[in-house]
Symmetry: C2
Subunit: 674 residues, 2 copies
């Protein structure tokens, strides 16, 4: 096990007060004393409020849980215990944006009990970090009380202190989590998914509300408590029957997280959500877990040249898969995905009860041959389980499906949940999906398989606990530019999602389109970036499994593919350097296995000149910088393919001037010269 814990802090456990009812107010500061949590106990509720650097973020906000067939757990509480401690650890993820993560916080645990019958117990844990707050509910297993409860409503409030500018996607809509982001006053939000990103640039406040460790509960969305106002409630995505979540005592809720920074770009440098997830089990097998890059038979379906189903345009053929493998084996690509490899894709598969087999290949595709061919060439076939949201149907075959893959040497599987409801009735963000997806991740682990899931539950940092849970789409990804459906993303989309969706975790956005001339079947669509920006996305959008999404013939002999070959997917360090939501982003990352650095710079539809100080490089070292930059005539709309590769020697402390064209970007590799 590579996870190490170093407790260097002070651990204080305060004695239980004899007259606990006198304790009604607590003030807890972060280690740097800049984040201030206040908690008070009133007859109607426990309240919390939050400030950062002297600026109020949340006014007094209520906490509590409403239970089905029982009174709410909120009012008439008295204190039974107080526990204040400081933790200062660092831990080493199996893979990630950082080789080591600092976890430093002050914690307050309040034990409370109802003063009236049935005198139930509840506890509240608050962790105050330099960059925000996490808190959760705990319900001990009270003697003589029911062990199984149904949560009817979570009563957590977020009473924001000001009307921020909000970046959000709506909850309770049919396309799950796959929307371009809305920007509005906080007061105009009705109900939003998390991460929910807020900023007041003039005041120097950026905030992201999200959750951590959603293990067996419903997703939290944020609902405006009173239309057109700025106090929000945690709103749990219900089961089809209206129940919010089924819990079993003892129970800990997911953490509600409030990440805080002075500038939105600094939200990207927080590890608060990951820190609030549990480490993996002591003996977990990580031998098969390897970040890397993949290609696959996929984009050609989205641009209409091929179909998922058998027939004259069948994409998944043995021959085509071998072409991908041939190309991939000559490059730093670890796997090849073949969508449509299995039987059951005929017709409008997304509209009917699924007919997929997860063990039987479609005609024209020899999975044994292809997987062996891949192994012979030093890479792996990547599995694909598209469920079409038919969970019950899928679960009957799931174990067998993963078992087949393990037998074939497949080490990662792409999951799909296309559909508006699961099993025809459940939201993708309710407890039903949370439970199903936990089964998937565990079954995959038992078969030594990594998971890359599309249309699944949102990310809450569980990759820390389950290191085979690599990445997920859960975003309006590249496929929308392909044209199925026929409405592409705007150029600003990729400079919004790192500040919103990206705060949840890795994104399998599938960048790397080099051929912009694919309008034969998709006359209305285009990729809204330049080629250089496609490369930059490998750095600005983090994923441990990154796709090179275009077709091998579009990459063949293309000089720019050298960047895709070179760019790592596992990092020593990562830092978001500059950016504004919806405008631009510059991110630098250092390879986990070398001293090389990589920079991605991206802009929206506006051209932009950025001065980039090279402060992140190692002092006293000279680097060869290979810059993949927009050509002088580059423009996403009419000249996306214009790019130049320029080399120069640089040292830390110097600055580069990045000339990003409209919808453009720049990707840079820094190789130490020794």
């Amino acid at each position: 096990m590579r996870i190490k814990f170093i407790i260097v802090g002070l651990l204080l456990t305060m004695a239980i007060h004899a007259n606990a009812s006198e304790d009604k107010y607590w003030r807890i500061l972060s280690p740097d004393e800049q984040t201030e949590l206040e908690v008070k106990l009133e007859p109607d509720s426990l309240y919390y409020r939050l400030s950062s650097k002297g600026k109020r973020l949340l006014r007094w906000s209520k906490l509590g849980l409403a239970l089905k067939d029982a009174p709410p757990l909120q009012a008439n509480l008295h204190l039974t215990s107080t526990d204040i401690s400081i933790t200062d650890q660092s831990w080493q993820p199996v893979w990630g944006e950082h080789a080591s993560v600092a976890n430093h916080y002050q914690q307050l645990i309040l034990g409370l009990q109802e003063t009236t019958s049935p005198e139930r117990l509840i506890n509240y844990t608050f962790r105050v970090f330099n960059d925000g707050l996490g808190f959760r509910y705990g319900l001990p297993a009270n003697d003589g009380q029911p062990k199984q409860l149904t949560v009817a409503e979570e009563l957590t409030e977020f009473a924001f202190d000001r009307n921020f500018s909000a970046w959000w996607i709506p909850a309770y809509r049919d396309q799950r989590y796959e929307y371009q982001y809305l920007n509005s006053a906080l007061s105009s939000v009705d109900v939003a998914h998390t991460p929910f990103t807020l900023e007041d640039k003039q005041a120097g406040i950026a905030v992201a509300i999200h959750e951590a460790a959603l293990v067996d509960y419903a997703s939290m969305t944020l609902r405006n408590q009173s239309d057109n106002q700025i106090t929000f409630n945690a709103d749990l995505v219900p089961w089809a029957n209206g129940d919010k979540a089924y819990i079993r005592l003892p129970f800990n809720s997911p953490w509600r997280t409030i990440t805080v920074a002075e500038k939105a770009v600094d939200l990207l440098n927080s590890s608060l959500v990951l820190n609030l997830n549990e480490p993996p089990a002591e003996n977990v097998d990580i031998s098969y877990i390897k970040p890397g890059k993949y290609m696959g038979i996929w984009w050609e379906m989205h641009i209409g040249e091929k179909d998922w189903s058998p027939g004259p345009k069948q994409g998944a053929t043995t021959e085509r898969a071998m072409q991908y493998i041939d190309f991939a084996s000559q490059h730093d690509i670890d796997g090849v995905l073949v969508e449509g490899w299995n039987s059951g894709w005929e017709g409008n598969w997304w509209e009917r009860t699924p007919t997929f087999s997860f063990t039987e290949a479609t005609q024209g595709f020899d999975i044994e041959k292809v997987s062996q061919y891949a192994k012979d060439k030093g890479l792996r076939l990547i599995g694909h389980h598209e469920t079409a949201a038919g969970i019950s149907y899928y679960e009957q075959q799931m174990a067998e499906g993963f078992s087949l893959y393990q037998k074939l040497g497949v080490q990662s599987v792409k999951m799909g949940y296309v559909g508006t409801r699961l099993d025809g009735k459940e939201w993708h963000h309710g407890q039903f999906m949370v439970r199903h997806f936990a089964k998937v991740v565990k079954t995959a682990a038992a078969n030594q398989i990594m998971i890359n899931a599309h249309e699944t539950i949102k990310d809450t940092g569980l990759r820390r606990t389950y290191p085979n849970l690599m990445t997920r789409e859960s975003v309006r990804g590249m496929e929308y530019n392909g044209g199925s459906p026929d409405t592409g993303n705007l150029p600003n989309h990729t400079v919004i999602i790192p500040f919103t969706r990206g705060l949840a975790g890795p994104i399998d956005f599938t960048p790397g389109i080099f051929n912009f001339n694919y309008q034969k079947y998709r006359p209305h669509n285009r990729v809204p970036t330049t080629l250089a920006k496609q490369l930059a996305l490998y750095v600005t959008l983090y994923s441990p499994l990154q796709m090179a999404a275009d077709l091998p013939e579009n990459y063949a002999d293309h000089p720019a593919f050298a960047f895709i070959d070179a760019v790592p997917t596992d990092w020593q360090k990562s830092v978001a350097l500059q950016g504004n939501i919806g405008e631009f982003l510059v991110t630098a990352r250092q390879d986990k296995h070398s001293d090389r650095w990589y920079v991605g710079a991206t802009t929206n539809e506006e051209p932009r000149v950025i001065s980039l100080p090279l402060n992140f490089l190692e002092p006293d070292m000279t680097y060869r910088a290979i810059r993949y930059q927009d050509g002088s005539g580059a423009h996403w709309e009419n000249n996306p393919g214009d790019y130049d590769i320029v080399e120069q020697q640089v040292r830390a402390g110097q600055s580069l001037t990045l000339d990003l064209k409209a919808g453009g970007g720049q990707a840079i590799e820094f190789i130490p010269l020794q």
Copy 2:
């Protein structure tokens, strides 16, 4: 009657074709040939599509009406008549942004009939303007067919050709039309009110979808036909029973309008919506209709210093009203509003069945005395009818209420419809409200009273037909900054609404706050502008009745009040000169009754330096420019009151440099020197 029509164009009526079924395609150009409408008849529907300056705006989009208890009127139509004509008029509004309005379009009227039983007739009228398109449905009174129909759904499609950046407010929410605007990709919109503003800055396209002449039908909202896509349907706001609209043949629907410009700021210069409304009746009495300015007992309630109801904080007292009248009479203010003047305001009036009297004054307020005092001082009391959305209750007293006002010499009435549903069940934007409000406007006219309505149906240009329908709020106005409710507007709000809500018509936003230090009862609120921007709003936000919203003691001896005194409310010409949605706006208007010009320049939270060429001024004339500008240290958040008044002489062709501070603005009066 001051409305004149000048038909100078060519009128062509084409003969009905012998074999009409061969006519299946029409192409109609605007007079300048830059707007191109195409119409085609297919077995399933009549379709239209639209281009401007060679750029496609709408792909082929269906047209039709679904009726209750009858088949839809859409498919299986054959041509019975074609009428193509050109109209080139100009007309003179009673009041408005322009003394004369050009109305120049090419029109196509298609008469169609079902080929199958019941062989109903329908006609489609398209008017193609240089700046867009209007079209409507007509249902003739067929012999032997029912004359009363229920519209179940309008089948109008808007199949946009690209994924624009959209500025919108959501429909079907409780606060009616009073939201801060959302900005998102068109594909992220679910259902939106109109005006619905779209732009693709790089392509040079701005579009606003709205409607004209909503006389007796339901409001049109726009609903995404397929979640996350870019084809929208006209979605009519239903009655509580689900019916959309009750119509009587012969019937013409409201016009569906598509205003087009290269830049969003040019949308503000369109008169397309007004042009599609009918002129007033020939003999309409306009003797009492006078644009002007007003003050009133109102803001002191919003900032918590006074109450609407009797008691220690009663706002509406005889003495307080006389203070307002004293101040107003020394300035160019025409009326004084007294909210809470009548009985029935006790307690939470907005939560109960109304108890208002519309004829009986509250204790402490002598309406006879106040209205006489106002007349003696040369101005008028302004009436107030707050219905609290209790329409049936109100209509019983309405006529008597207006009649009392006429007797007292009141010449304008502010209407209020605070509440989430009318009569506890109807939307504010359904046909129920349309019908009620028509009664209000007509009853007011019969009593020689102008209407200023808050929380009413959206504006569709009916002021042309009913010139006593002066202005309306229907926006998240100044009151939200007051603090009831407790969530103010963001600084960018006032540079969004001219491009969105403002395209519908006049806005009673109630600018003019000079005292920013009103946090005694509203610690979380502030007006998010500088003082100079407050003045600029009198020019950038058009209303024929403009409030000077602050208290007389805050205006007393204030040098900046000279601008409010001077600024007209009726204009010879208006031109939006420069602007970007959500960023800034500069508008110039010429007084209708002098050669003076007025400029308002406003910015969002960002400071901005604007070069303003004075091309709009009369050549060869010298003007004294009185500039009310942000002081060097002005900032909306911490120094809003810092302003300077600077005078200089200028001539047409010169440029001024406007130095707008954060959340700031500038207001300029240009007085010809002769």
